[in-house]
């Protein structure tokens, strides 16, 4: 039997001008979370438990766009969503529209384990959270100053044509080869990068699991649901693999990206890396996204078609890598 493997991500689509300190902060968080997962795997904790505990850590840290530190809705509030899937048996749980639950991924897990359903949202989900006695806080717990600033910029960007922060000097002497500012989800990447978080794991029993969590799109309309809580789009785990996606939510949904990796392995017989490469290349059309994946034979892989993805991966035989760029 092959050994365990784990991957984490903090979002695909990164500002190429991201200040070095932010890059370092991100890599440290990814490393810390990876190590948390590795310790758990070494203690024979099951894949489904590992993905939950790693994503809880990512939610609790304010750095990426999940739990505390979530991107803000158009009203300046936080509305979170998450999903989790256990590859053995393919049970799943998902939540959307959470405003007080400290760790959305854990509520998603409870939906899977303790309710007759797979997906609960908005006030129904909050009510379930109360019944389950999970930790809840005021909505402003999740709001960080960084994100308040970002919302302001996003609202301004909606009404200006270009990103005024890009230096004008040099534009006159450049030819037509100058690229316009990178946009994702309709916003300049300097203002909003998806930074959804996720974790995929295969444990030493060969069981795969996946978990994804997010605050969603910056400046989103209230009630907008993205790919993260949708099984088959943002999250999927089956016999053969566990997958978590991030990027332009609508493109991921349309491409049923997470399920696609599994489908291509199952129906085309591709190995994990080939499946990941195929899906990123062929299933995104002009959408920008990335994903992390593990296979039941202990492999780990990732792919993205945008500039950068915050990620980390490790396998039992000692391989470990944390990165942002290609």
């Amino acid at each position: 039997m092959a050994g365990w493997a784990i991957a984490v991500h903090g979002g695909a689509g990164v500002d190429p001008n991201l200040p070095t300190e932010r890059q370092e902060e991100a890599k440290q968080l990814l490393t810390r979370c990876l190590n948390l997962g590795i310790d758990a795997l070494r203690s024979s904790i099951s894949a489904i438990d590992v993905v939950e505990l790693v994503v809880r850590e990512l939610e609790t840290d304010p750095l990426f766009n999940s739990g505390r530190g979530s991107a803000l809705t158009e009203n300046g509030t936080v509305e979170m969503e998450a999903s989790i899937m256990d590859g053995s048996g393919r049970r799943c749980g998902a939540v959307s529209g959470l405003t007080t639950v400290k760790n959305p991924i854990s509520l998603a897990r409870l939906v899977m384990d303790k309710s007759p359903h797979s997906y609960l949202a908005f006030s129904g989900a909050e009510k379930f959270a109360k019944q389950m006695g999970v930790e809840t806080v005021e909505n402003d717990y999740f709001i960080t100053q960084d994100n308040v600033e970002m919302l302001k910029l996003a609202k301004e960007a909606d009404s200006i044509v270009f990103d005024y922060r890009i230096p004008k000097v040099g534009y006159e002497s450049c030819g037509t080869g100058v690229q316009s500012p990178i946009h994702m989800n309709g916003l300049p990447i300097s203002i909003y990068a998806p930074e959804t978080v996720g974790c995929v794991v295969v444990d030493s029993e060969g069981r795969c699991a996946a978990a994804t969590s997010t605050g969603g799109l910056l400046n989103k309309r209230m009630g907008r649901i993205g790919d993260s809580p949708l099984i088959g789009a943002g999250t999927y785990a089956g016999e053969l693999c566990g997958v978590s996606c991030t990027g332009e939510g609508e493109a991921i949904i349309r491409g049923t990206l997470a399920r696609e990796v599994g489908a291509v392995m199952e129906y085309k017989g591709l190995g994990l890396q080939d499946a990941v490469d195929f899906v990123i290349k062929e299933r995104l059309d002009d959408g920008k996204a990335g994903l992390i994946a593990v296979s039941n034979t202990g492999e780990v892989a990732y792919g993205f078609n945008c500039v950068g993805m915050f990620r980390g991966c490790a396998t039992e035989n000692g391989f470990m890598e944390v990165g942002i760029w290609e």
Binding site: F122, G124, G223, G226, L230, E250, I253, A263
Partner: protein, 320 residues
């Protein structure tokens, strides 16, 4: 090749002794609504327009679990969801938690066409409906006495299942039989293809009887209850939790694309070999004008027609 259309009014444990007063209105509705779809296709309406039109009719009909006639949540309220997808562009729209919009499928279409998003839910979806000027109505409009009765029976029979401390394993999901055998009906849907091979799918539902408020099923989840690409269009019905897990709609298309199976083979494979028995039914059409309507439940209210004159309206498995 000519056009093809298939529609359903829900798969479930439809008892063979369904009384005539429950059976005939539904059969008549399937017949009438199929004709509406057929006329639209003959008039060269696009498949996207046709599936929306047909599902609106199914929503307006109180005998099916969508729009008026939706089943009730455990609070006795109606929470509707719907989804529409265009095969060529793979553009899609979905809504959940809708309680005052007369035609949720049309709201889903507006999400697809008037926002950069795919999925809006609950208060956000209701607010968007008002912005778009869609027809809204008092919540009581959707509630029928049949469904009040169903909820009552479900609460009485399922008292045991309200105990959530036991983890729910897949094999436990087969519900205990309820006196009113058709209380497990879910969902309406329509798929269509025109003579050029353009495909579209649409699904709409009130969800599960006695569902927890806020519960979302397979219908609005692209790839689970609804899917269309350039190979085929699918609308599924049955036990939402199972359809989500099996990514039913996407898998039918994936098996066609990756294993080169024809529509009927692919649909049969997913419904009969992969999905747990008693959970799933679907209607499907392919870019080649084929139609498939497999189900692994006792029955599925369904109807289909092709341009060359073939027509079928049925509830239980047809004798072949």
């Amino acid at each position: 090749m000519g056009w093809a259309i298939a529609l359903h009014g829900g798969a479930g444990d439809i008892p063979a002794d369904l009384p005539p007063e429950r059976r005939q209105p539904r059969e008549a509705a399937l017949h009438r609504i199929l004709q509406i779809g057929v006329s639209a296709l003959n008039a060269k309406s696009s498949p996207l327009d046709v599936v929306e039109l047909v599902v609106r009719e199914l929503e307006n009909c109180p005998h099916f679990n969508a729009g008026k006639g939706s089943v009730l949540t455990s609070n006795g309220t109606v929470e509707m969801e719907a989804c529409i997808m265009d095969g060529n562009s793979k553009r899609c729209g979905a809504v959940s938690g809708v309680s005052t919009v007369v035609n949720p499928i049309s709201l889903a279409r507006q999400v697809m066409e008037k926002t950069p998003h795919i999925y809006l839910a609950f208060d956000g979806a209701e607010a968007f409906a008002r912005e778009q000027g869609l027809e809204t109505i008092d919540k009581s409009y959707f509630i029928t006495t049949e469904n009040i009765e169903r909820l009552k029976q479900a609460k009485e029979a399922n008292r045991v299942q309200q105990d959530y401390t036991q983890p729910i394993k897949p094999k436990d999901e087969k519900e205990t039989p309820v006196p009113d055998g058709d209380s497990k009906l879910g969902t309406v849907g329509c798929v269509a293809v025109d003579s050029l091979g353009n495909l579209a799918a649409a699904t709409s539902t009130g969800g599960l009887v006695n569902k927890m408020a806020g519960r979302i099923g397979d219908t609005p989840i692209i790839g689970a209850g609804t899917y269309a690409n350039k190979f085929c269009a699918i609308s599924a019905t049955g036990r939402g939790e199972a359809i989500i897990r099996e990514t039913v709609a996407r898998d039918v298309a994936a098996v066609m694309e990756y294993k080169g199976l024809g529509l009927k083979e692919a649909a049969d494979y997913i419904v009969h070999q992969v999905s747990p028995k008693g959970t799933t039914g679907l209607v499907a059409v392919s870019s080649k004008g084929e139609v498939a309507m497999p189900f692994n439940t006792t029955g599925m209210f369904r109807a289909s027609a092709t341009e060359d004159g073939f027509m079928e309206i049925a509830i239980w498995p047809s004798e072949t």
